[in-house]
């Protein structure tokens, strides 16, 4: 690994100035599960690592009546251990339980997963399904971005020079809301998604009609893909396998994957439909309050 300076600011302002001092050879560090691995491989030309985990705002989970805010550096383990998050956002736990193994979850954060901006990131389709807002700080002050607009290319995102992610805000789910994230991997753990699918629905009070829906895919485009047309097609439709199949086909059409060592174009197109449909089923079951643990387990290979 190349020689580095390490700084651990105690608040957002200190972090802003540390990053400003380091310029484009400084990089923020959260869980480090991507960053340190890349440093080990010698892939990054960096001089300074700015560890954000001493900043209380980035390490906090706070719940208000409108939203849940998770600091960008909060580890998956911390999220998984938070009972109120588990209860209110079961779909979020789908992702935080899937990122790496247990020991990766001890460090990896949603903010890091997002800022690494891999097209295959396991949290991002889920964040899109949850309509998350990204709160960013930087030398020019603070700003917010919808999560579906955050990533711009593989490994690239909207963060400008000296900017970093502070927190992710999840709007409080409306009544009859359900969401789910599924991915397909060859093993049952410790893999990069061949395809990932996040879905959320809001059902009518009788829980037989889909009022609105959001569908998002991972690993089928240069960035995690918000498939708005799939959600739009579901809005106002009755809950039925046919409806879901239509959305699944739209997701498949939207997918524009490449063939690489982890998957082929036909396989990824096909899985886009399969996983969308399966994720929607679970989201609907959750919205209806039906148990889905068994199916979830099987689909995620935890069965």
């Amino acid at each position: 690994m190349q020689a580095l300076d390490y700084v651990a600011p105690n608040n957002v302002d200190e972090a802003i100035s540390a990053l400003a001092d380091g310029g484009d050879r400084a990089r923020p560090l959260s869980g480090g599960t991507d960053l340190i691995a890349q440093l080990q491989e010698g892939r990054l030309g960096l001089d300074t690592i700015v560890d954000l985990k001493r900043i209380p705002e980035l390490m906090a989970i706070s719940v208000s009546s409108d939203s849940l805010t998770i600091g960008a550096s909060v580890s998956c383990h911390t999220i998984n251990s938070n009972q109120s998050v588990r209860d209110a956002y079961p779909a979020l736990i789908d992702s935080t339980h899937l990122i790496g193994g247990t020991q990766i979850q001890g460090r990896a954060s949603l903010g890091g997963n997002l800022c690494n901006s891999s097209p295959a990131a396991d949290s991002i389709p889920n964040l899109i399904a949850h309509s998350v807002t990204c709160h960013i700080a930087g030398p020019n002050g603070r700003r917010s971005v919808a999560v579906e607009d955050f990533c711009t290319a593989p490994g690239r995102n909207v963060l400008g020079n000296g900017e970093f992610l502070v927190a992710l805000e999840f709007p409080t789910p409306p009544a009859n809301f359900g969401a789910a994230y599924l991915r397909f991997i060859p093993r049952n753990e410790m893999d990069i998604a061949v395809v990932g699918a996040g879905a959320s629905v809001v059902l009518s009070d009788d829980k037989n009609t889909i009022q609105s829906a959001r569908v998002s895919l991972g690993a089928v485009a240069p960035t995690p893909l918000f498939v708005q047309e799939a959600g739009d097609a579901l809005a106002g439709q009755p809950v039925s396998e046919e409806t879901l199949a239509t959305a699944a086909e739209l997701a498949k059409d939207a997918a524009r994957p490449i063939s690489d060592m982890r998957g082929t174009i036909p396989q990824r197109k096909h899985l886009s439909a399969i996983l969308t449909q399966r994720a929607l089923r679970i989201a609907i079951d959750r919205a209806r309050g039906t148990k889905t643990v068994d199916e979830l387990g099987r689909l995620n290979g935890h069965g």
Partner: protein, 157 residues
């Protein structure tokens, strides 16, 4: 050569100060700077679990932690699992069940299993397999490892 910095930490229950370069991982610092060779490097990028340690009680890959990050924190390694000169029940059961063949992955498995039982004292077989999925073993097929962990869990219950 890069400048070294001093890090104060609690290592296996002892207040410890050591010097490291900021680019050193916790794994490298443990092994080369502190002489604790029990944490092993199998992959260097978080995919095998042989270097697992507890950081403030949470299971992490020490190859994916920079040494300066542990300033003011507590680290428990395989060397800190046995207490008062007695093998931890997991260590004892790994021996009795022949849960190790070459033994290189064993420290990581024992640290991970301890974290599991701290979190969930009575896991199912599935719970054990899921929790340990980040620890690779190439010798045993995991059968005897899972049995040892379940045996300890049952013993605690």
């Amino acid at each position: 050569m890069a400048k070294k910095i001093a890090v104060e930490t609690t290592l296996n229950g002892e207040e410890t100060v050591f010097l490291c370069e900021p680019r050193q991982t916790l794994l490298e610092a443990l092994r080369d700077n502190l002489g604790l060779i029990g944490s092993k490097e199998g992959c260097g990028n978080g995919n095998c679990g042989a270097c697992n340690v507890l950081l403030d009680g949470v299971l992490v890959n020490s190859c994916l932690v920079l040494a300066p990050e542990i300033e003011g924190r507590s680290v428990v390694t395989i060397e800190g699992i046995a207490e008062d000169g007695q093998l931890h029940p997991l260590q004892q059961k790994f021996l009795e069940h022949a849960s190790l063949q070459c033994g290189i992955c064993t420290p990581g498995f024992i640290v991970s299993s301890k974290a599991l039982l701290d979190d969930n004292p009575s896991p199912s077989e599935h719970d054990v397999r899921l929790w340990l999925a980040g620890n690779l073993c190439r010798c045993t097929g995991y059968d005897k490892i899972v049995r040892a962990v379940l045996d300890v869990a049952e013993g605690d219950a």
